[in-house]
Amino acid sequence: MAVERKMQKTIIGFVPYQSPIYALHPLVRLVIFLVTGFIPLFVEIPEVNILFLIAIIGLFIYSKVDLKKLKMYMPMVFTVGLFIFVTYLFFPIAKGEKILLYQLGAVKLYYNSIMWATCIYFRIIALLFASIFYFSTNRERDMLIAFRSLKMPFVATYFLGLSLRATGIFMEDYQIIREAEQARGLDVSDLSFVGKIKHFSMYMIPLFTLSIRRCEEISVGLYSKGTVISNKIDGRKRPDYLMSKNPVTQKDIFYSAAIVLFFLAFCSLQVFGGVFSLDNSPINIAILKLLKGG
């Protein structure tokens, strides 16, 4: 029996074959990415960033993204936490009232420092998942449409498109070289850490040589097709196939404007009212009360 494949491989990751999020124009999806990429920076309260994170995971589920694909980011999620907590443990901050929780030799565990580390951790994890969500629901083509909808110069989007395609070519070449090595019996898992680093570096030589050859081929190909990177002929703009197939409608502009307005309103709550400051965190308030015995 044929197994239905839910996810499609793109140059930079996996996206679902079918997803309700595709009903939105790539421009709207880019605006969501930009907004969700900034919102956590205005939030100190960990609970709010946890809610934001839950909302993003909800979007993953709604968009039919296979959550198993997120496993590769788990080491990052863990090490980010470890890194933040260790630095805030050994280098406690002066912000807030210093409350000593525990002391082991010269190492002092301060509540204010650990609480601040918690804020930062959830802030950065929320930002990371917002970023991962965008790359899990947008193909390279969608990114180009979105940037061209924002009137980004053709040369810049062409460069971006070519770079992303080059990424795919490079990955394919890398895979071929790796399989050739495995076919000859190389087992990378047996190598030491230093060995792995050296081995990684050694891939570069054949890969670069192939890229140099590809550059010549692509340049000649583009030249022979009459490609002009300014996308203008005699001062006039050439028709854009991608944009002709994906025009921006009034509805898309309305959605994008609404998202931006929501973002501005949200930010102003923090900038002018300090609504999302750590001092307003219910958990922080409760723990402080407990520690001070009040």
Binding site: P40, P75, S219
Partner: protein, 200 residues
Amino acid sequence: MSKGVWKIEDGEVRKAGLSHFVMMALFTGIGIVVGTFGSIAVPLGFVSAFWPGQAIQSVGSIWYGGWGGIAAFVFPIISNAISGSAALPVSLAYIPGNLAQGLIAGWAFRQFSADPRLVKASDWVNFTVWGVIVSNLIGAGWGSTVLTMFGLIAPDAHFTVFAGWFMGNAVASWILGVLMLKFVSPIVVKTKTFCKGYWA
């Protein structure tokens, strides 16, 4: 001092063209892959213990001048987003540091007429000093400052993060950079995309 590979021969015409643009895009693509692998391979929070992407930045500007410099600040934005090692605002704030990391080696090699094939001892010194030490000092200094500004590390940990960042990147970029220059430069300097000047 002999200008070596940088000398423009009599009658030689060098103009920036489509092939340079394509090479810049390909180099950005390579940087995306190398940067992403480096960040995912040995992640230490926002600081990867092994980020060979810096070698791509230095070598890129040595081979392709300003084109390599542009690739140097574009590819980390994309590779950071893919690997999840830095959020978009942080990646954008890294731009000046990445640009510096991508331009210093190219400037030094042209200024001091060092050979990208690492033929003489002075070429090795030039790469080690400018392409690795100075570039990474600036990059790590800028990067750790950005992390402090975003509140991602404690202010008192600034120097420790800077030192860890510098050491991790410097070792990785020296190993990969030397390999690339020693073994790939002899091919690159013969291609028409190699830039004797800053743009051609």
